[in-house]
Symmetry: C2
Subunit: 421 residues, 2 copies
């Protein structure tokens, strides 16, 4: 029965009952954190063996290079080969970086700001804009805001962003790009449909220095056996010749160790050349010991997949705990909807319109930290104040069950409060 | 007897004899490399034990943080403590970065270009300049050239750069900074005198957004027992209040593993705040597993010094081999002078004026690769064409002896050719 169908008295009664329950939780002095897409302690144990020096062998790469010394700017050959299998991109179109794909994205945009992307520096072209599929990843938006790039929201559905809207907006040559997570999106878990990827590959932007930051962070992060599939953007571009528009990144942050993994950029020949020419100035190369350690441990694509299955075995019960609680406490009430992703790190929860900030605040008071309301939108402003990103990975399953119970209470309380006015 | 005192006939005879010897070497098909400041294979072995996972213990930092997960932006506490001892700078004035101090410098200058250093972005202030003590480090010059910053040569002597000239030039508010290696300078091995450091601390630049990149790469890289001492720039600034002008960097690239070490920035409170505020956008933090591995292995300043003694034991015979050959083959001839450093990675050789390019080319033909002539000057232009950076560390001692023998021949041949005209 939908909440809206209840009478004012029924609503007030229900609010009183829920508030009593809420106050019980509040008095427990809990401290639960569902705010960050951070692996849990048990996930960290999976990769410990990689730190055994046997995985470094005689420190030599397949081309005879000693990883303990200077040299090799763009990644050791076996590491490129591994990512080549994972991303289905030729090794020569890959560069292996340091410990974070976030830094690759930051640096790439910084490069465009200072030196441009084949045209005038972005910084010199006043009033430039980026399109941001929403809800999206707060750290993407932070980078764009940091550089003073205006952000425009693009709504998304189960197939990805609204491509008609994108086609329309890129007629403005001030629109320089799009930043997105095409597979198991943060936070909705959406994987762009083949049709959406093909439309990306066929974009006709007015700006000749247009770039899509294709953050494929979760390309191998399935949480059940029903794997999504993402069409390879560079394959799709073979028909359109648009490969220079796309900068793809991924990393092993949530494969091996967050903060001590390796990251990679995939791009067209021309873009690889441009990035390498900056890198010769910016760095003496990245940590090749860590690259060799990763490759010898993970071996190949099959090895990576087997490793990811171990993560999935830990993650699935956590996602299920959240989804079961939502189903039990929120389904059919007309006050919330949520995603049920096949991979990634998040569940996207839409609460009753105008209630996200209040829900997060109520949770906070009861000791449950959620990602801030609005974080999934540019400038932290959710125009409907309804989206909350749920990160089920870091707490233990017991903590999670308690936290989500409280969350459901707060969702309903804030909805009733809203309806009562 | 000086070459210049020989008659034309004597010179021609000598040239013929030297050329004969040179041609013998040339026919050997040698392949010797003295071009890079790269540790030798034996130096890499010193640190292998650090890769043992026992140095990671239970993965916890001194404040109870798991280094295998996300978190801690500016370095784990014990790592800051270690660098605090080494640089004599408070932990809160340090940030631990990734594997290369070169990247810290690049990123810092990029930050000044895009966002400024407390004033208008450098990129928006057309025609900005940096002062470059010469001979200096080619990669410093490459960064400045990359960003389109005009470079002005500052001559140096055994006390450091010509401070009178610097005082004069910084009256121009377009002069935004200086980049230098204050201890065991690349390539001369000079350590700035206390007086020089105090004059740096007392600089009165017209530009309020003035910055000195104080690349203290070799602060612990002694090669004999006669250690140079560098006055602490931040101590010196305590009397002048100029601490905001200085950005100090160093790294363990030549302490542990080149490319797999850790780097650090030391700066004033205000500059640390500015850099951290960029870092919150740019990165999820650096490799903390590698930080913990380093600290647990090196332990403290005394541990680092003991470790550096092992490097010195390998390096001293190599430096001696070069210096002995110079003494034997070039001394008293009036065609070359060279430095005899107490630390660092280089010997700076000044050949007969106008002969550096020719010397390097002759060496190349005989299979000996040197750092390119001119590399020690901005834009690769040595105005007197006489400085050559000698990097004795990478070849084995036998290779080195052969290479330096050939180098001495080429120095003399090119000088005689020049005199003969």
């Amino acid at each position: 029965m939908e909440i809206q169908d209840l009478s004012r008295e029924q609503l007030q009664e229900r609010l009183a009952a829920l508030t009593e329950k809420y106050n019980e939780y509040k008095s427990m002095g809990l401290k639960l954190d569902m705010s960050r897409g951070k692996p849990g302690a048990d996930q960290l144990e999976i990769t410990n063996d990689m730190l055994d020096p046997t995985f470094l062998g005689d420190f030599k790469t397949s081309n005879g290079f000693d990883v303990r010394n200077y040299g090799i700017l763009d990644g050791i050959p076996e590491c490129k080969k591994l990512f080549s299998e994972i991303l289905d991109v030729a090794p020569e179109n890959l560069i292996v970086f340091g410990n974070a794909s976030l830094t690759i994205m930051y640096d790439y945009i910084a490069q465009c700001m200072i030196f441009g992307a084949g045209a005038e520096p972005w910084a010199a072209q006043k009033g430039i804009k980026f399109l941001c599929p929403v809800p999206g990843y707060d750290r993407h938006f932070s980078i764009l805001e940091h550089f003073g790039i205006e952000m425009i929201n693009i709504p998304t559905n189960e197939n990805g962003p609204d491509m008609d809207k994108i086609d329309e907006l890129i007629k403005d040559e001030k629109v320089k790009g799009i930043i997105c997570v095409p597979m198991y999106s943060n936070p909705t878990g959406t994987t762009y449909s083949d049709e959406t990827v093909r439309r990306f590959a066929s974009l006709k932007p007015a700006a000749k220095d247009f770039r899509v930051i294709w953050d494929n962070a979760y390309c191998i992060h399935h949480i059940n056996n029903n794997h999504d599939k993402l069409l390879n953007i560079f394959e799709a571009c073979k028909e359109t010749g648009n490969e220079d528009y796309f900068i793809e990144v991924t990393s092993t942050s949530k494969v091996t160790f967050p903060g001590a993994g390796i990251s990679v950029l995939a791009a067209s020949d021309a873009n690889i050349r441009a990035v390498k020419s900056r890198m010769t100035i910016q760095t003496i190369g990245y940590d090749k010991i860590n690259q060799l350690r990763h490759v010898n441990y993970l071996k190949d694509k099959a090895g990576v997949e087997a490793h990811m299955d171990k993560h999935a075995a830990i993650l699935k019960p956590k996602f299920d705990a959240v989804l079961d609680a939502f189903e039990k406490n929120l389904a059919g009430k007309g006050i919330a909807s949520w995603t049920n992703p096949n991979g990634g790190y998040f569940i996207s929860l839409d609460v009753y319109e105008g209630c996200a900030i209040r829900t997060v605040a109520l949770c906070k008071e009861a000791g449950v930290t959620l990602t801030g309301a609005g974080a999934t939108y540019p400038y932290g402003k959710d125009p409907e104040d309804k989206n909350i990103r749920i990160a089920p990975t870091f707490p233990s399953r017991d903590e999670l069950c308690k936290a989500v119970e409280i969350l459901c209470l707060c969702v309903e309380i804030s909805a009733i409060e809203k309806i009562l006015g």
